[in-house]
């Protein structure tokens, strides 16, 4: 890719890929109805693991990424324990506190460089390997979403009690959701560390967790493409606008958020769009748009950000492997 893009846009692309992987990780939690505002801590777990591995041992980039996946998953499970007790808004605030407390722990840890952080991580992240990992992460999340695990997550989001009555082990599912999500976030964190060469506690504050929410919500939660499109818009659009007009990025981000929420409160890709697209194509093929076409995945997808809706088919589908 280095032939296609200039130095500046290559860096923007890497930022986009890292943001997109982290957003996919958060999206996975959203599928299960687990609203986390602590994902920055999961990214920090990956970033610090990568930094320690890269600086203190001679292990290659791949090993550093693999260990970051494990670290992210581990911290994810610990954070997931909160989900066993808290739901929805309270879970979001609980994980926010978890993330903030985790950073305080890092700041007080000499091995992790305290408030100054760690310097000298190998500069191994390139646009190419970031792209490959983004594609891999997308494939994993699409796979999960259409698997039994993914359908169980949807069912859990729709109605936890009902899901448990039809054989979904909710506690295990929640921990699993946070483990996989944590692994992806850890990967994103490791890529970030290997891109910037330094890791600092300040980079993993609430701002980062919030910006992931922004990319996921802006893109919409109806399809896996949502968080990726959201990341694309937030990263590329702000950089592009900034290269055109010299203005504080807060204006662009703030304006964008308000605009999108006012115009499309369910994000850019909503459930309605998917259904319209589907009816459009089925009509083209001459078949009338039949009722059963709208199955669990679509019905559940769009309502991700709305309050508890009625029971969808998602819950009923889980029972069948």
């Amino acid at each position: 890719m280095s032939q296609l893009l200039s130095e500046f846009w290559l860096q923007v692309f890497i930022t986009f890929a890292i943001t997109a992987i982290a957003s996919l990780s958060l999206y996975l939690c959203f599928i299960g109805g687990q609203f986390s505002l602590g994902h920055a801590a999961l990214m920090a777990a990956g970033a610090y693991t990568a930094a320690v591995v890269s600086i203190n041992t001679g292990l290659p980039f791949e090993a550093s990424l693999a260990l970051s996946l494990v670290a992210g998953a581990g911290v994810g499970v610990v954070m997931g324990v909160m989900a066993l007790r808290l739901q929805e808004f309270y879970l979001a605030i609980g994980t926010l506190a978890f993330g903030a407390a985790a950073i305080v722990v890092v700041i007080n840890n000499i091995a992790l460089g305290e408030a100054t952080g760690l310097v000298g991580v190998s500069l191994s992240t390139t646009a190419d390997n970031a792209l490959v990992l983004l594609i891999a992460a997308t494939v994993v999340v699409v796979g999960i979403r259409h698997s039994r695990f993914g359908r169980a997550l949807l069912a859990m989001r729709e109605d936890e009690r009902l899901a448990s009555t039809i054989g979904v082990r909710v506690w295990l599912l929640k921990l699993g959701c946070f483990a996989v999500s944590g692994a992806l976030a850890g990967l994103a964190g490791a890529l970030l560390a290997h891109n910037l060469a330094i890791v600092q506690p300040d980079s993993f504050g609430l701002d980062l967790s919030l910006s992931l929410w922004v990319t996921v919500i802006v893109g919409g939660t109806a399809a896996v493409g949502g968080p990726i499109i959201g990341s694309f818009i937030v990263v590329f659009l702000t950089e592009w606008l900034r290269s055109k007009i010299d203005v504080d990025r807060l204006y662009i981000e703030g304006g964008l958020l308000i605009l999108i929420m006012l115009v499309r409160p369910n994000g850019l890709i909503g459930l309605g769009d998917l259904q319209r697209l589907r009816t459009f194509f089925t009509r083209r093929r001459g078949a009338p748009p039949s009722q059963p076409e709208v199955t669990a995945d679509e019905t559940a997808g769009d309502e991700a950000v709305t309050d508890k809706g009625t029971l969808s088919h998602a819950a009923l589908e889980v029972g069948h492997p």
């Binding site: 605030i93 506190a97 958020l257 409160p265």
Partner: protein
């Protein structure tokens, strides 16, 4: 022991500001079921308005204070009208994101007008320090403490002893039912947002005179801690907001005095995690009833 009481006084004075912020959050969230993420930036903006009135217009502190309160109320009602009402029916996340956008914009505007450096808030203060044995309570702490208590009592009277308060509580309990019984929910919404704006302004001015500085980022730390205090106290509970705010303030000052300043931020968040794991709806929050939805 002297040192302990000295720290207790300092903690209370910061705790009052946290409590006022938490009251603003809890009033809005409890009544309108909306998390106004811009509350903290309103606080910052009001602190700047107060600073501007003091230094540029050379008004006295009382007038600057009132000006900031009016500004806070108008700004918060404006935010409600512009970005909360239009999206609130979609989900609890939509107003959260749109007010987050407002909060970014307010910080951007403040940075543009006043720059990122902290500005010194005029420190000349009419009330002198008081001494109790070896414990010194500054004039600022006395005024902040007394005003906070008066404001909290007035708020309590308003919510629990007036017709408007009754309407607010009715709307908090069941908005649709309140409207059906003749409560003008638009007026209730405006009143609640206005009150929250005034509370943000008071907290903003108190923080500015307590620390002697205002900066565009003052809302970030204190606003977040105020939100944490709301959750610890239980959403919608005025009593809980005050108790949790004071507890965080005292806890932080004690942590700095007896442990290390680097652990300061762990107090609020650690306390939140512990409280939520034991009581998932906060100290005084009511357990929401499980209402089965129609299939």
């Amino acid at each position: 022991m002297t040192d302990f009481f000295q720290q207790l006084g300092n903690g209370l004075s910061i705790g009052f500001s946290y409590a006022l912020i938490a009251l603003g959050f809890t009033l809005v969230f409890g009544t309108l079921k909306v998390l106004n993420f811009a509350h903290a930036s309103v606080l910052m903006a009001c602190a700047f308005v107060g600073w501007w009135a003091r230094t540029e217009l050379h008004l006295n502190l009382g007038v600057a204070f009132l000006l900031a309160c009016v500004f806070g109320a108008v700004l918060t009602i404006g935010i409600d009208r512009a970005v909360i009402r239009p999206v609130v029916r979609h989900s609890f996340i939509a107003p959260f994101i749109s007010t987050l956008g407002v909060s970014l914009l307010l910080v951007a505007v403040a940075k543009q007008i006043w720059g990122t450096d902290p500005h010194t808030f005029p420190s000349s203060f009419p009330v002198g320090d008081a001494h109790f044995g070896d414990v010194t309570v500054t004039g600022i702490q006395i005024v902040v403490g007394i005003t906070s208590i008066v404001v909290m009592l007035l708020l309590g009277l308003l919510v629990y002893r007036t017709g408007l308060g009754l309407q607010i509580r009715a709307a908090a309990q069941n908005s649709d039912m309140a409207r059906a019984s003749g409560v003008n929910t638009a007026v209730v919404a405006a009143a609640t947002m206005g009150l929250a704006g005034v509370l943000a302004a008071i907290a903003g001015i108190f923080l500015a005179i307590s620390f002697g500085v205002v900066s565009p980022f003052v809302g970030d730390t204190y606003g977040l801690k105020g939100m944490v205090a709301m959750i610890i106290g239980g959403i919608g509970s005025l009593k809980g907001a005050v108790i949790a705010g004071l507890a965080i303030g005292i806890g932080e000052v004690m942590a700095v005095a007896y442990v290390s300043s680097t652990w300061r931020d762990a107090i609020a968040f650690g306390l939140l995690i512990v409280v939520l794991m034991i009581k998932p709806r906060g100290l005084f929050g009511t357990e929401e009833r499980y209402v089965p939805t129609a299939v």
